[in-house]
Symmetry: C3
Subunit: 346 residues, 3 copies
């Protein structure tokens, strides 16, 4: 990565941070406290890494005021060092400028509308009626289907598929392999005389609407609505391999970790945090600020903010087997206790 060096003084001014040390000192990159060199900026956000201050060779550190006295070198003092670090690190991100225009290998339909400054990468397909706004970057191998709209400054990194009737807000970032707007899983079971019944596909006629500033991870899937749309409000953050079924609605500023899955027509509030591999059944609704821990299954609506969990703790298999065997008879165990209590009290 060859990026422009920045002085500590420049960083302090730009992000409104207090500087202790030489404002002329040049910083060429960011790193963890353990890996940082003398021309790199480290950061201390999590108190459990405070001991690493003793050994770091970082040229300067972003940290809280409370930690600043434990460090004799140059530092930038921030109320929230992780946020400050994120902003500074972005300066050192090496994103070569995408060349505006349509790569000659891309297949763009005549009926597609591409803004002048947009960048359509190699081997993209843009179908009739698609609209690609100002400043959008489509990396290689993206497919933008009929009736899809991509808001300004959005970036589809590579090989993203928007199937049909997908609307992206501004500054949306989508990682490779994501599929938005595929048919939801809608089936009607038809009993019939000739066989014991079979499935009829229920047409999926809705779309997908993604708000501004959303981020969608690699190989994540978001289905189009059956009737009406599947909706992510603004600033929703989805990690990799998440499954969002038809007609789900996710409130603004919620974040879902990898492999989480939300079944059809479920509604998730604002500022929710859904742990990795967690599942939410269909037609449920979660209030604002609900946190679900990893691999929990939500089987009823949750009306109050707070943390929720299911599952059992990890154990050595030999012990777990004994406990698990007992779980199969837990109701009987509880009944026996009830019986005792009655006996004893009588």
């Amino acid at each position: 990565m060859s990026t422009v060096p920045r002085t500590l003084g420049e960083l302090a001014t730009r992000f409104g941070l207090e500087l202790r040390g030489d404002p002329g000192r040049a910083i060429r990159g960011v790193a963890t406290l353990i890996d940082a060199d003398a021309d790199q900026l480290g950061f201390l956000a999590n108190p459990r890494y405070r001991l690493q201050l003793a050994d770091t060779r970082a040229g300067a550190i972003v940290l809280r005021r409370a930690d600043a006295d434990a460090w004799s070198g140059a530092c930038l003092i921030a109320d929230d060092p992780y946020v400050a670090f994120a902003r500074i690190a972005a300066l050192f991100e090496h994103q070569p400028a995408a060349t505006p225009g349509i790569h000659p290998s891309a297949v763009v339909a005549q009926g597609a509308t591409i803004a002048a400054g947009a960048c359509i990468g190699p081997l993209c397909v843009v179908e009739d009626g698609a609209v690609v706004d100002e400043g959008v970057i489509l990396g290689p191998h993206c497919v933008i289907g009929r009736g899809c709209t991509i808001g300004a400054q959005s970036r589809l990194v590579a090989r993203v598929t928007l199937v049909q009737d997908v609307t992206l807000g501004k500054r949306v970032l989508i990682h490779p392999g994501a599929v938005l707007g595929a048919d939801g899983f809608g089936l009607a079971f038809e009993r019939s005389a000739s066989d014991h019944g079979h499935w009829i596909k229920v047409p999926q006629l809705g779309g997908v609407r993604i708000g501004d500033d959303c981020e969608i991870g690699a190989n994540t899937t978001i289905d189009r609505g059956a009737l009406g749309d599947t909706v992510l409000e603004e600033d929703v953050r989805l990690d990799n391999q998440i499954q969002i079924a038809h007609n789900v609605r996710i409130g603004a500023h919620s974040a879902l970790a990898g492999c989480a899955a939300v079944a059809g027509s479920a509604t998730i509030g604002r500022y929710c945090l859904i742990g990795g591999g967690a599942g939410i059944l269909g037609h449920l609704s979660l209030a604002d600020r609900v946190t679900v821990t990893a691999m929990s299954l939500v089987t009823h609506s949750i009306r109050e903010a707070g943390d929720y969990s299911s599952g059992t703790p990890i154990q050595p298999n030999r012990q777990w087997r004994r406990n698990a065997a007992r779980f199969k008879h837990l109701d009987e165990i509880a009944r026996r206790i009830d019986a005792f209590e009655k006996e004893t009290k009588s």
Copy 2:
């Protein structure tokens, strides 16, 4: 969506439904009871939405005879309103006709066989020995590997990969990102003098066979068999992000919800329903009409039809933690009760 309007009389005749109301009334689309306008058809299949009859502005409603008296407007009476609705909705689905022929940007090997009426979309790759039958539509970015056969009227929406030796029946529908025919996960562990052992890849030499009328969701993976084939019988329905390992066999008319996973050589019966995120271990066999609830793990074969579950219920984290901690000692708890009972009885 601009689709041809249909009269209520036409719908009644076409689908064998009883009409109450003006047969000449024009219907231009379908919608939920809440969203339907005067030129749209709503439906009432689930009794819990019956109250919405009071407020809907739908031009007509598909419903059961038992619900018809609660509605004074036009209606189509059906034994199964959801099935009737699915069939009617299909009339209003806007699928622009695919142009038959091979898109000039597609890369089709000389040794591939493409039926005259088939449609090979932009940037597809069709390898030697592949056979694409009459009426097949390959959307953009599909890869059809050696020895693959696609039955008549099948549709691969976009960016579907059939790796090798995959046979699709007729009217198969596959959504973007699906991968069929990748190598199964076959490994032999070789002990050796030079290290503490290492893995040897077991060649995967089988194929994948998909029956007629199957549907396969976005980013779902179905591996080729090790020896012999991985098989989906007819009318199997797979949602998104499902993993089907080598040599699995799934019986006709079974449906698996998103993120379910079936390990190698497992056999699932006919008319089974596997919930989202559920897992089925390798070499097991499930009888016909087995239902597994979401995120359950099947660890032994199931010989009788019925519903099966594992896991624990969602709770506020604070309560869950206390219960989960006790689970680690459940066997000991049960032993203490056994001891009591002995004592008390003696």
Copy 3:
């Protein structure tokens, strides 16, 4: 599959196996004991299939010495029949030779370095600064981003995306749909006066390093590090739809089954076996030779080799519901027992 036939004598010599039977007998393929024909080689590795010896029509069988006396036909005796079978089967794998060179439909940047013997398939994209080594095969639709390096003899089957700064060792095999080097899920929550807070993206500046002889399954995702790299040591085997978050490190010879997920900065030792759908929380560390059973969630570091599990057993739903309801009060149940014991003892 038309592959060259091999004589039993040739196989015995090549793989150092003891032959019983006619060395001139021709073998044209491999199969299971049940399916094998007279010109095919079967194998018996798992003792529970020993009964199949009675009925097999296999021309010869690879088996252990202990099983050889139960079989009157030709056989190859191996210490580890499964390893021997894997090696022999590879001879019968039909992999048509890839044509070296760059397919005319591929888009290769001027600044990419492609070894003379490498094969770049149709519609691949290779970006500036990418390096593709000797004997590498890229199947159709692969995207090799900036700064990626692919070691000699590696094979990307089809539609694999290496986003950026991904380094593959030698003989790495990657199946379709895999995404390596996408951004990790790094977010800082910024409180602000104007709203109730929102997310800031934390730039992901690290890479991905994959050791020699690794195999990576279809639709698996491996994110780039935030700072520093995400690392798979040599001979790590990942099945399909696995999620590896940023800065994870997986030790040599470990294998993860389908749909497993490892959260950020977790460290997995050498020779670990992670079951399908299992999850490992962030920042944890697992010792060497830890086995985690399917769909278990690891919530704390594991310092000792052994087998570990969580979850509850599958049951008929009616019984499960009663037990699960009791789980919600398990702590209370345990307290009641404590109280009894005190009472009884007093």
